[in-house]
């Protein structure tokens, strides 16, 4: 989780990713941010998040995104 929070904070240092749970709904993250995150996650976690997983429920909070990464890691 620490690594993920670091990736997110590098992108938007002004956002508290530990508590924020409307990252997509409130348009804090845009499509360019999402691609940057997926690219970083691919490097750091060796997990590929394909397009079908890019839905608000998976990106609205750091926690949801972390759950997705863990799920994909398990599938691998």
């Amino acid at each position: 989780m620490e690594t993920l929070l670091e990736i997110l904070s590098d992108l938007h240092p002004d956002v508290d990713f530990e508590t924020e749970d409307r990252l997509i709904d409130d348009k804090i993250l845009d499509s360019f941010d999402i691609i940057s995150i997926i690219s970083e996650v691919a490097d750091q976690f060796d997990v590929t998040i394909s397009a079908e997983y890019i839905v608000p429920e998976n990106f609205n909070s750091a926690e949801a995104l972390y759950d997705l990464i863990q799920k994909l890691e398990d599938e691998d």
């Binding site: 997926i38 998040i49 397009a51």
Partner: protein, 530 residues
Amino acid sequence: MLFTSYGFIGFLAVLFLLYYLIPAKYQWMLLLAASYLFYWFANPVYLLYICVTTVSTWFIGRRIEAVRSVQSAYLAEHKQELDKEAKKSYKALMKKKTWHLLLACLFFNLGILAVVKYTNFVISNVNAVIYAIGAGQPLSFVNIIVPLGISFYTFQAMGYIIDVYRGTVKAQDNLFRFALFVSFFPQLVQGPISRYGDLSESLFAEHPRDWSTISLGLQRMLWGYFKKLVIADRMLIGVNTLIQNPDTYYGAYAFLGMLFYALELYADFTGGIDITIGIAQVLGVKVTENFNRPYFSKSIKEYWNRWHMTMGSWFTDYIFYPISVCKPMLKLSKASRKALGETIGKRVPIYLSSFVVWFATGIWHGASWNFIAWGLGNWVVIMISQELEPLYQRFHNRFHVRGSFFFRLFQVIRTVLLMSCLRMFDCYRDVPLTFRMFGSMFTGGNWKELLNGSLLQLGLTLTDYRILFFGLVLLIAVSLIQRTGSVREKIRKLPYWGRFLLWYGLFLCVLLMGAYGVGYDASQFIYNQF
């Protein structure tokens, strides 16, 4: 049958009446019949195209679902004997099967769209090359019917099949229900491009008569007709004069034409969508909103999140994301970060995917270099503003103007002007002329002519200008009120006489100021051509 024709109003009246007279369980069937009748009125041949797309997409959707059922059954049956690796490779095999089915559906249907819409565009470009190198006889153009709204219904159907492939929606069992989803007549010709998951539930549901919803729908339609008939079709006269005579109307007139077109397009497209959503609301069907006060956006990026939102999200979800996160692109991302450094390197794949999306957005709007230039123009502006972001940040750190009213006003005006400049590509006959007319705004030196009465030579009378001014004020006022919620809901809370005055007044405005009447052919909606 245009939305603005008397025939369409009669068609709606009969439909609304029947819809609430028949048993509710047959309502969706009536809608399907009405949708096909609507399309048949446009041209019976169109039905062939929409049927092919409907049947092929429905069939492949069912096949994908069948493959998935086989997979679930097999995995359940062999739960004990399969280890993790065996399960994984079986899933990969089945995924490949569904992937091939998806590709077949996309190639077939997007192929139809490409052939009917772009064949003559390709031929004209080939001919230009033949002419340039003197290589012989030019190719003949082919006579292909381009079905009304083909870009809209094809995208809607392809969105469905991708969602079925991704497993976000379940494939529709009933061919006729699916046919209604593809052909639902209010949104058939100019969108919104609905998602199956958003539209299907209310489209197939039973809708008991609810006067409050019906009246809200009728009010929305009336507002749409006001925008279209009172503002857009009146403004069209001035726009046509200005853009069809570039030798006479250059410089200041080009600037004026650009602003006129911005207003006309807004009133035309949002008016059309208001009518669409209003009709659907009368029928109890919930259609996704397509606009969110776009001319109040503070940047082009924000503008594209608020204008033609269903098209924007379609391109983002089905083209931008899949390209950006595919394995080759992730590899490119890694390589470019290594070669160009973290900051620049990670933007390379994003900009590349955006390029593809904007090229596709441009050509989706029309088979011409003008639309491609318009799409790529948007891409360039978005990329530049993205690159200038650190500069903006430094500016805001030094000058604390971000929240001030005047700075926000400046941002809004800047965005409207930028978008309007880009839309000049829609207006003029070719790309070089568009650049010439844009340049003439700075070199024309004829700004004083706007004050010598020449505005009354554009086909618009003083009364027309007064009506347009009144319409513009009303549009701005409504948009400002919308910041705090639905205007119609607010009006509902007014006393009876207030509601009566407002709606009856608007009705009279459409009746008295609308550009229509016996012998008058109301213009087609701009987005019908896409």
